[in-house]
């Protein structure tokens, strides 16, 4: 453990707890901290939306339509201006953060459960079980995700629940692939053999020995798939087959602003930029977690 820089407060002879080492590593990892702060801020905004939003995001004011944002010579009354129905853009952006994060998180959780179960089973048992798992993964990958999601939403209607479920049931492939190879590595370890010799049940080994040891990789994939789900939801909503109006979704706002693309391009710039920054932050957060939890700790 000598290569891990010690905290100055702790004498070098003391054993530093792993969680403290991780925290120290995390604090020194600049892009991780940046991603963490941005995602944290968006999450806070989403949580506190009713208190932060200056207006009701659904309230139309037809007399104040298409007011420009402050940085384009607008008034402070509507900081980010108003849309074609006179709804306050800032309030819609704030509530839109809720939609994005909620869909991203729940969809990633559903796919994490499906993909991790498949991946761990395939990686642990190998042989026929693994062949079946890989077959299911190949079938899923062969189905065009965007098309299937669009079709399902078109057939079942674009409620938040339908969108979350369809994304959750479509995006588990990476979980299965990564968890499978991580489990295969863990399977070779002596402690698994030891647990087997001690007579532990398979369920116990999977739950107590395998899962905790593939958890780091799992967290990385959860963040990356969350970004994937958010981007897909926005794309579906943009195509008119995702979250339905008047719900404030960033993808839907870009789609509504598209009509005024030639004259008022800020209508698409603002939600697009928010989406881009959030996705960028989630991605570098995921990359950061991978760096920090890597056993050798690159850099």
């Amino acid at each position: 453990m000598s290569d891990i820089p010690m905290n100055h407060a702790a004498p070098a002879s003391k054993i530093v707890s792993p969680s403290r080492v991780l925290t120290a590593k995390a604090l020194r990892h600049r892009s991780f901290m940046l991603g963490f702060c941005v995602v944290g801020t968006v999450a806070l905004v989403a949580l506190l939306a009713p208190w932060l939003a200056p207006y009701d995001p659904y309230k139309q004011d037809l007399l104040a339509r298409m007011a420009r944002p402050v940085f384009m010579g607008g008034e402070w009354k509507h900081i980010l201006g108003t849309d074609a129905l006179g709804r306050d853009y800032l309030s819609r952006m704030i509530y839109g953060a809720r939609v994005s994060l909620m869909i991203g998180f729940v969809a990633a959780m559903i796919s994490a459960v499906i993909g991790t179960t498949l991946g761990i089973l395939g990686g642990f048992f190998g042989g026929k079980v693994d062949a079946v798992v890989m077959f299911i993964v190949s079938v899923r990958l062969a189905l065009p995700a965007t098309l299937v999601a669009l079709a399902v939403v078109a057939l079942f209607g674009g409620s938040l629940t339908v969108v979350v479920l369809v994304l959750g049931f479509l995006l588990w492939d990476r979980f299965a692939v990564v968890m499978r190879s991580a489990t295969m590595q863990v399977r070779q370890m002596d402690y698994i053999a030891a647990a087997e010799v001690l007579g532990a049940s398979v369920a116990r080994i999977l739950w107590k020995d395998v899962l905790p040891n593939v958890l780091n990789a799992l967290i990385v994939i959860i963040t990356l798939e969350m970004a994937h789900a958010i981007i897909l939801e926005a794309a579906l909503s943009f195509l008119g087959l995702g979250v339905q109006p008047p719900t404030p979704s960033w993808g839907l706002m870009i789609s509504e602003g598209k009509e005024m693309l030639l004259f008022e391009s800020w209508l698409i710039t603002i939600p697009g930029l928010a989406l881009f920054v959030l996705l960028l932050a989630i991605n570098i957060l995921g990359d950061g977690i991978r760096d920090i939890t890597a056993p050798e700790g690159r850099n």
């Binding site: 077959f135 990958l141 189905l143 943009f238």
Partner: protein, 305 residues
């Protein structure tokens, strides 16, 4: 080698069969196709007549095999909305999608491979950082928004290329960039990782020690080995691009298969939806099969496993 190909082919056929069943039954889960065909508010007799005429009253499996047999002979039925044969429509639209797919992949490879190689050749320098930047941005930028921004800049403000349509070849430039950039990050990361691996190998040190030109070592000796996994990734990405074409074609109003998919989906046109989901899947399966075979040919070690 033949045994390897036969095994992969058999597996691909099995996947294709499963996918065809899913794409067929998926669209039956939503409810009675006879009702959606007859239209809202149709009387019970009309619905019953439609059900009988189109054979919706038969068992699902019988309908599936019937549909599959016809699909194999290229008959996907008549579109509910356009009232023309689905296969003729798809055949007319596919060339556009294939063109932007091929152009996009070409763009992605031209951007990703050189930057990936350079990033690995100069790790932890500004070159590496820039490559990482391109990848990270490409992963995070929503393609529909990126497309709209490019339209605002290059069509509206600068007037360099048309915002939509394919009347001239310049109409393909923006779709190519948007679709290609989407596939770039994964290819670049894999190229970089593969090159970093290969560059630490003994034969690279030997080649350099012999005094060979660094550029030729990089691109001739190292890249040849590092490119093998990139081949399968590029095939997978090309398959994904067909799915991504739905978004890109709707932004640039290109009348390809992706746009047709969006039109048919938003109009509940079941036969067209089924056909397109199946065809896009078949492209993916075909590309990955081709990549597997190509890989086995490039790397004999893979044939054993």
């Amino acid at each position: 080698m033949l045994k390897f190909i036969a095994m992969k082919l058999g597996l691909a056929l099995l996947v294709a069969l499963t996918v065809s069943f899913i794409s067929f039954s998926l669209l039956y889960m939503a409810g009675d196709p006879a009702i959606s065909m007859a239209g809202e508010g149709a009387s019970a007799e009309v619905i019953a007549a439609v059900r009988q005429q189109y054979g919706f009253d038969r068992p699902l499996l019988v309908q599936y095999f019937d549909w599959l047999m016809r699909a194999l002979s290229g008959d996907f039925g008549i579109s509910y909305y356009f009232k023309t044969p689905v296969s003729a429509m798809v055949a007319e639209r596919l060339p556009v999608t294939m063109t932007i797919g091929a152009l996009g992949m070409g763009f992605a490879l031209c951007l990703a491979i050189p930057t990936g190689v350079l990033a690995a050749a100069f790790p932890n320098t500004w070159v590496d950082r820039m490559a990482l930047g391109i990848a990270v941005v490409g992963q995070a930028i929503p393609s529909f928004w990126f497309g709209l921004i490019l339209i605002v800049i290059f069509s509206v403000n600068l007037g360099l290329v048309p915002a939509s349509g394919t009347r001239s070849w310049t109409g393909y430039i923006l779709p190519m960039i948007v679709l290609g950039y989407y596939a770039t990050p994964a290819i670049m990361r894999l190229t970089r990782a593969g090159m970093l691996d290969v560059l630490s190998a003994d034969y690279i040190r030997t080649a350099r020690a012999k005094g060979l030109h660094w550029g030729s070592v990089l691109f001739k000796h190292a890249l040849r080995n590092a490119i093998i996994p990139v081949v399968s990734l590029a095939a997978v990405q090309l398959g994904f691009m067909f799915g991504g074409s739905v978004v890109v074609e709707s932004i640039f109003a290109l009348h390809g298969a992706g746009f047709l998919a969006w039109e048919s989906i938003s109009r509940n046109d079941l036969p067209t939806m089924q056909a397109l989901i199946l065809i896009f899947s078949m492209f993916y399966i075909g590309f990955t099969l081709l990549a597997d075979i190509l890989n086995a040919w490039l790397d004999p070690r893979l044939r054993a496993g």
